[in-house]
């Protein structure tokens, strides 16, 4: 199991065209079935790293996704296998109706209409939005938009889900609903978030970025014991412990 690497990143650096250095010598390996939380302050390079998973950005260094090196000729194959959900759902949902948006990926994959219809139906069911096919994105609430954005990649049957702040801008009920939907997906997941409760809930591993460098990479349980690290990144360690213990007790009962 452990040997099945789905993402391999070796000495990856990336500079934005204006000269800002966003990533410096980042090393990361993600194995099949893992859920990895990427944490860190604003501007640490989290999104930039995520954009390398499907070749939205191509930096200096070696990136291998599911055994395929990140090169121009592999992009089509890689994008089919990595479902990237952007932070702002208004960027992700560009079609006139929800159906068209969810169908966009499968249609581009060349599936026939019958299969596309089935995939759209299944993806919308997975995010709990059956019957929304004919609605327009601008008539949806923020939480519904986020769920449709997730459905657009679920419909593609990607092997890896890369989510950029999935619960950003959502109210507590909306983010809880979305967390439940994400939990039910079986893919390998990489999730950028500032929401530590989500990371604890969904992920078994935490990676910390700071100023473009990877500064920590540890299993989730170890993070919860590491009070100094939590405080260094501005998290309230006592509160997090309290939540974590409570959850564990609830699970035991």
């Amino acid at each position: 199991m452990k040997s099945d690497k789905v993402i391999e990143i070796d000495h990856l650096s990336y500079d934005y065209p204006d000269g800002t250095s966003a990533l410096r010598e980042v090393q990361l390996e993600v194995f099949r079935g893992e859920s990895v939380a990427i944490l860190g302050p604003n501007g640490a390079g989290k999104s930039t790293l995520l954009y390398h998973f499907n070749g939205t950005l191509i930096g200096n260094g070696k990136v291998t996704i599911l055994g395929l090196p990140l090169l121009k000729e592999n992009l089509k194959e890689i994008r089919r296998k990595v479902g990237l959900v952007f932070q702002n759902p208004d960027d992700q949902l560009f079609c006139p109706t929800v159906y068209d948006d969810v169908a966009f990926g499968p249609l581009n994959m060349g599936l026939d209409l019958e299969k596309v219809r089935y995939r759209v139906e299944r993806a919308l069911k997975m995010v709990g939005l059956q019957g929304f096919e004919r609605r327009s994105a601008h008539h949806l609430s923020e939480g519904e938009k986020k769920r449709v954005a997730l459905a657009t990649v679920l419909a593609m049957d990607s092997e890896i889900l890369a989510l950029d702040e999935p619960t950003d801008n959502l109210d507590p009920a909306g983010s809880q609903a979305l967390i439940e939907r994400i939990r039910q997906t079986s893919q390998t997941k990489v999730i950028i978030t500032h929401h530590l409760a989500l990371a604890i809930d969904l992920c078994n591993r935490a990676v910390f970025l700071q100023a473009g460098r990877k500064v920590e990479d540890l299993p989730m349980e170890r993070l919860l014991e590491n009070r100094a690290l939590l405080e260094r990144f501005g998290f309230d360690a006592d509160f997090i412990h309290w939540i974590y213990e409570r959850k564990r007790k609830i699970k035991k009962n």
């Binding site: 954009y51 952007f86 960027d91 006139p96 581009n108």
Partner: protein, 255 residues
């Protein structure tokens, strides 16, 4: 926020709303063509065309008064362009009306031109209002595409539709932010701010366009927008299209 300006009525239920968008586009296009090609003194045809449009409005269960109010929106533009024609045009043959105000005279042919422009624009715009009030925008775009409008245009239209709402929201947010920090109500002093706002809006739209394109690429976009097929073209559609030969008959035998 304020999204009602486009899809206010297009989601209603009525026989007209249920028609295939292609049929509606063809019929309203015929209305416009026949209206425009009618000579200005063809009052009978104008009345019949208006009657036809009003009956369609009734069948579509749309509030006529509301649509007419929308029509009034174009009048200022129309009048700015045409109001001077009757005064500027000089009749060669007698037939003008002298108003006696410093040599100001009203020309009869000028008045005909004014009537011609006003009645035809009103007819045309009313057709467009009726078309988008009875057809959801995505269907309209698909209908145009099926009728052979180049994909570049329909694609642009559908993006414009999708993002016009965000643009309007963004503008309202910026306006609110400005108003909460500015105390002068005089717009003249805010010209500089308005300039900045327009610039910011442009830059934000530009950046958004880049992000949207990346999102499209991420889901396998390779230059062609996958189309979704329209449904049936049944007897109702053919019946509705039958209005076109009737209009043609009116135009050539009554005009």
């Amino acid at each position: 926020m304020r999204h009602e300006f486009l899809d206010h009525h297009s989601g209603l239920e009525s026989p007209i709303h249920h028609l295939d968008p292609r049929a509606k586009i063809l019929v309203f296009f015929a209305f416009i063509l026949i209206g425009v090609s009618t000579p200005p003194h063809g009052f009978v045809i104008f009345i019949l065309l208006a009657g036809g449009l009003i009956s369609i409005t009734r069948m579509a269960r749309l509030p006529l008064f509301h649509l007419v109010k929308k029509l009034l929106l174009i009048l200022p533009f129309l009048l700015v362009i045409t109001a001077s024609i009757p005064f500027m045009k000089k009749d060669t043959v007698a037939g003008g009306y002298n108003l006696g105000l410093g040599g100001l005279s009203l020309s009869r042919s000028g008045l005909w031109i004014l009537w011609n422009v006003v009645v035809k624009s009103c007819l045309g715009v009313f057709c467009i209002i009726l078309l988008y009030s009875t057809t959801p925008f995505p269907h309209l775009v698909k209908g145009l595409e099926k009728l052979g409008v180049p994909k570049v245009f329909t694609l642009l239209l559908s993006f414009m539709y999708r993002y016009s709402f965000l643009l309007v929201d963004e503008m309202h947010r910026m306006k609110r932010a400005r108003d909460s920090r500015s105390f002068s109500r005089r717009w003249f002093w805010q010209l500089k701010t308005i300039g900045h706002m327009i610039g910011t809006l442009f830059l934000r739209s530009f950046c958004r366009a880049e992000r949207v394109y990346v999102a499209m690429l991420s889901r396998g976009y390779h230059g062609a927008m996958p189309g979704v097929s329209l449904e049936r073209f049944g007897s109702g559609e053919y019946l509705f299209i039958a209005i076109v030969p009737v209009l043609l008959f009116l135009r050539f035998f009554l005009g």
